[in-house]
């Protein structure tokens, strides 16, 4: 009987505890909330080629690959490369800062004419990018020009391992792209200015965790800051 009495006494305690612990959850919080810092530009849900599809003969959206698009930081301009004329007009110019290529536009390049597989190959732009594994806000200076010159980073896509410079991980269980948190890219732009970039999400609405295999993609959320005075100061605090 003693045990029973103890259980009786515990019941109200348990129910009280339940009342206080049952309804809390932080997954619902808006992940875009902390992105604005007053200096950086935050791009939310920039639609990539949402009509693209993978593979041939597959029940995809329009049975074609994904069109590349370019992005210019200064005026937030998205430039589509739909055909040969677009390619000729834009690719080899210094009019773009980053390019979103490949499956789901998930492979990002800076504008670097010297690299064979860069969309701007053969152009005059000499951008470079350095990966910094630090929170975006804490990256307050651009690396040295030597560091930029030495950087071998070309494609920023799926980070298959620790040393890869990619911006997302890819889960083999859920087949979902997961952006790498607190990874920042310092970029030397075609016009010589320094910038920093954080790629935040490829899924519509910038959800903290993607819970559905068919969550609409690619919709890019990212933020960047360009130091217009030409200095290496990237402080956005």
């Amino acid at each position: 009987m003693k045990t029973i009495k103890i259980i009786y006494r515990l019941l109200p305690v348990l129910s009280l505890w339940l009342a206080f612990t049952s309804c809390s959850n932080n997954e619902n919080s808006d992940t875009s909330a902390g992105l604005e810092d007053g200096k950086s530009t935050v791009i939310k849900d920039l639609a990539g080629d949402t009509n693209g599809s993978m593979g041939e003969g597959v029940d995809g959206k329009t049975k074609k690959g994904f069109d590349t698009f370019l992005f210019r930081f200064s005026d937030k301009k998205q430039i589509w490369i739909r055909n040969a004329a677009d390619s000729a007009q834009y690719l080899k110019t210094k009019d773009w800062d980053i390019a979103f290529t490949g499956p789901y536009n998930s492979e990002v390049y800076v504008n670097k004419g010297s690299y064979e597989f860069n969309p701007g190959y053969g152009g005059t732009a000499t951008s470079a990018v350095v990966k910094i594994d630090k929170p975006y806000a804490e990256v307050d200076t651009a690396p040295s020009d030597e560091a930029f010159a030495a950087s071998e980073i070309n494609k920023i896509g799926w980070a298959v391992n620790e040393s890869a410079a990619g911006w997302f991980f890819y889960s083999l269980n859920t087949h979902i792209m997961i952006a790498i948190k607190n990874r920042t890219y310092a970029i030397k732009l075609p016009d010589g200015k320094y910038a920093k970039l954080e790629l935040i999400n490829a899924y519509q609405g910038n959800p903290p965790t993607v819970t559905n295999l068919n969550w609409p993609a690619p919709y890019f959320t990212f933020r960047y800051y360009v130091q217009n005075d030409g200095s290496k100061n990237l402080n956005t605090k």
Binding site: M1, T3, I4, I7, L11, L14, L18, A19, T21, S22, C23, N25, E27, N28, D30, D45, A47, T50, N51, M54, G55, E56, V58, D59, G60, K61, T62, G65, P103, D133, K134, W158, V160, N161, E162, F169, Y170, S171, L172, N173, T174, H175, I176, I178, I180, K181, N182, R183, Q204, G205, P207, T209, T211, N212, L213, N214, W215, P216, A217, Y219
Partner: protein
């Protein structure tokens, strides 16, 4: 006298049989005579333990709901009752509920004496039905070597649950989980760490088919016509063959009654849930046959657990389910019975999921139609020498048509239609050479076809099997159950699975139990022949049998940029059956009549587990996968349950499971520092460090701790029952978010949570009418990482039983 009676009865039956075949029309008067003989009466006296008569005690005979009260001298009489086995319940204020099985013999005044104990709080024992009620399966699942949990229809009725998943997810060690990689509709049961792929679902001992990425959606099954649910935890291939690698859940449907009766019930409430049931049972042909039919309609609006990101639509699918179920039994002769049962279920589901808004809105129109048919015929024959034979034929067919359309662009993102058909014949025998030893043996064969527009299967799959089970009570202290089963599959050859369970009653209050068993699962069609493209997630999976051929073809079309040749050489047409070994050990302790404690430790070792592996990279498709056998994984833990009855009418039970589920391959990779497993990234600092074995949390979706607490109170004078249930699920891994392919502290976890449910029921009009209020998830706890768990659901139910007094 008695002997003579039986003799007369037997003679009559023989006469009936012969006349039946010769002159069916002349039979009528004879049968009416037989009907009179086949009834009996039950009289008795109820006293307290001092021998004083108890007046006005309530007696109920089930399944026909005959009710009487004792007179002032404690006597009662049930008159003109059809012969058969009944369950008698006696209730009287201040005394314990008395429950027992009674045999009412034909043409006889059966007399019993019942002594009601005073309220000294004894646990209500689940009545284990004797063999008479095993209508269509001689294998006694409740006497399996592995631990068995039985959920009775009374428990289900008290919970007020509608679908099978709702009942099961409140059981110790069982969870219902969403498989994100399988799409929004992939939901399955998890048991002692085994995923849904490894848990076989049976209806009346026959396997059910129809899975979505390996997941069996239990919400397809209405609980309205269920007699009981038997759950075996641990490898049970010894009983059921392939697929029962991690356990089995057997649904036993209702048998016919002795007297015509019907039931109508309806529930309505939150999410516009409607649960409507009509049931009828009747004997026919003067008690020689019985028939039972049940129709159920269920609908729900579904639920959106993610309103912040889904501006419209639901994460848990809305659906309309129609189920029609029936069973007929007919006694051909005194010793042989022919039975047939059928189930037809239809699901129509259309789920909308709206992401974004205005010009950026994307709404997915996800539809699924399911048709599910189960049919079986049994012939049961008892020979004079005591040998019982059961011949069973079973057919099941499952057709699923799924598609997802993006409504704005009109483009289809996925579509899958498949049909699966299974035929099964089984011949069972049971024999008890001596009273304490019971043998059950059987043999049979299965043939299975699969039609899928995405792949063709050459021929079908067939398998043959034979088994022998023994149930031996050696003496007062030792009991043993065990046996073996041999399966032969046309593609995977032979597999022998033994099992053995021992019980040792050290003292009457304490019983020790140990058991071991093995299991296996042959790769399914999907893993062997399907070429599955997921355009949204951008991957292709190629079945192992056609791996090389498909890759060659793609290469010729210029769709391949890189192939891991050594893997292709190793994996092409070389997928092995998965295997498991289960060990259980524990004890049952009943210190007092009103306290029972069960403790059981389990260890399941799984080898050759099938998992996907990347074998190639495409020019357009990013990743091309096939299937491989992984070395080993294990689930181990402890399960405990405690039941107490502090007061008459009040039952409190609690259960707890501790579980560790880990993949040995991952553990080796961490120890050896292989590839991505070598390092761990702290997402907060962005820093990498070397990973340690202690960083490994375990396999996704498995909670370390799960617990439940249930209190039920039955106040007989008012015919009111109420219960309150709390279920706890400890935190579990959702997805690896730092790319080392295993779960560590920096990954995404679903938070531990409590779900609170309650139900109250009041019976009126001599228990004919019942009113029930059901409240599920009272605290309205939802999490966007649990897309299938709806918020608070309140339902009001009304049930009416029609029967003759």
């Amino acid at each position: 006298m008695n002997k003579n009676n039986n003799l007369v009865l037997r003679l009559k039956f023989n006469t009936i049989k012969h006349i039946y075949f010769l002159f069916p029309l002349l039979l009528f008067p004879v049968l009416i005579h037989a009907q009179m003989i086949i009834r009996g009466s039950l009289t008795g006296k109820i006293t307290d333990k001092n021998g004083q008569p108890i007046a006005s005690a309530n007696l109920i005979l089930q399944p026909d709901m005959h009710q009487v009260q004792t007179d002032k001298n404690g006597y009662f009489t049930f008159k003109n009752i059809i012969a058969g086995e009944y369950n008698i319940t006696v209730s009287y204020i201040g005394h314990q509920l008395y429950q027992s099985n009674v045999q009412i013999e034909a043409d006889k005044k059966n007399n019993i004496k019942i002594i009601l104990e005073e309220e000294e709080n004894t646990l209500k024992q689940v009545t284990v039905y004797s063999k008479e009620t095993k209508a269509d399966n001689l294998l006694d699942i409740q006497r399996s070597a592995m631990p068995v949990t039985v959920i009775t229809k009374e428990t289900i009725a008290q919970m007020g649950s509608r679908r099978l998943d709702e009942v099961l997810k409140e059981q110790t060690g069982i969870a219902v989980v969403n498989d994100i990689g399988g799409g929004a509709r992939a939901v399955g049961v998890q048991m002692q760490g085994f995923g849904s792929d490894y848990v076989m679902i049976l209806i009346d001992g026959q396997p059910m088919v129809g899975r979505n990425s390996g997941n069996f959606d239990l919400s397809r099954i209405s609980v309205s016509n269920i007699e009981r649910i038997e759950i075996i935890k641990g490898a049970s291939s010894c009983l059921f063959g392939s697929e029962a690698l991690g356990g089995a859940i057997n649904i036993v449907t209702r048998h016919g009654a002795f007297q015509p009766q019907a039931l109508a019930s309806v529930r309505y409430g939150s999410l516009h849930i409607v649960d409507a049931t009509l049931e009828g049972e009747t004997p026919f042909h003067h008690q020689r046959g019985s028939a039972n039919i049940s129709a159920n309609y269920y609908r729900t609006d579904g639920f959106n657990t993610d309103p912040n990101f889904l501006s419209g639509g639901t994460t848990a699918p809305p659906y309309d389910d129609y189920t029609l179920q029936g069973r007929v039994r007919y006694r051909l002769t005194e010793n042989s019975t022919l039975g047939a049962s059928g189930r037809y279920a239809l699901r129509k589901s259309f789920m909308e999921q709206i992401f974004g808004n205005n010009e950026n809105q994307n709404s997915a129109a996800d539809s699924q139609n399911i048709t599910d048919i189960n049919a079986s015929v049994t012939y049961d024959n008892l020979f004079d020498n005591g040998l019982r034979s059961m011949s069973r034929y079973y057919l099941t067919r499952y057709v699923s048509d799924m598609s997802i359309l993006w409504q704005e662009s009109g483009s289809q993102t996925s579509a899958e239609k498949f049909a699966q058909t299974l035929h099964r014949f089984e011949q069972q025998f049971s024999y008890a050479p001596v009273t304490d030893l019971k043998l059950t043996a059987g043999l049979g064969g299965t043939s299975e076809q699969m039609d899928n527009r995405n792949f063709n299967v050459p021929g079908g799959m067939w398998s043959g099997f034979t088994y022998l089970q023994a149930d031996w009570k050696m003496n007062d202290k030792f009991e043993a159950v065990g046996g073996f089963r041999y399966d032969h599959n046309n593609s995977y050859g032979g597999k022998l699975n033994p099992s053995l369970g021992l019980q040792y009653h050290i003292i009457p209050k304490l019983t020790l139990k140990i058991a071991m068993g093995s299991g296996f699962k042959t790769p399914d069609y999907r893993q062997r022949y399907q070429v599955f493209m997921n355009p949204t997630a951008n991957y292709l999976v190629i079945g192992s049998e056609i791996l090389r051929a498909t890759l060659e073809e793609m290469k010729n079309n210029g769709q391949i940029s890189e192939v891991r040749e050594y893997l292709v050489n190793q994996l092409d047409q070389n997928l092995q059956a998965e295997k498991s070994l289960s060990f259980n050990g524990g004890f049952t302790y009943t210190p007092k009549k009103n306290i029972k404690l069960d403790v059981n430790a389990f260890y399941h070792n799984i080898s050759n587990q099938i998992n996907s592996i990347r074998v190639a990279t495409g020019t357009n498709v990013r990743d091309i996968y096939t299937y491989q056998n992984l070395p080993k994984s294990f689930n181990t833990g402890l399960e405990m349950s405690l039941s107490i009855r502090p007061l008459s009418g009040l039952d409190i039970s609690t259960g707890y499971q501790y579980l560790i589920a880990k993949d040995r391959g991952v553990m080796d990779s961490i120890s050896n520092g292989t590839g991505a497993y070598a390092s761990i990234r702290d997402n907060a600092t962005g820093l990498f460090r070397k990973s340690r074995l202690s960083d490994y949390f375990g396999i996704e979706n498995r909670s370390r701790h799960m617990a439940n607490l249930r209190a039920a109170y039955n106040y007989t004078p008012w015919d009111i029952t109420g219960n309150i249930r709390v279920n706890y699920r400890g935190k579990y891994g959702f997805v690896d978010s730092n790319n080392n392919r295993f779960l560590d502290q920096y990954d995404i976890f679903v938070k531990g949570h409590f779900l609170l449910n309650a139900a109250i029921e009041k019976k009126l009009m001599k228990q004919r009418l019942s009113l029930q209020l059901t409240a599920d998830n009272i605290m309205d706890y939802t999490d966007r990482l649990m897309p299938g768990q709806p918020g608070r659901v309140l339902l009001l139910g009304l049930k009416y039983r029609f029967y003759k007094e």
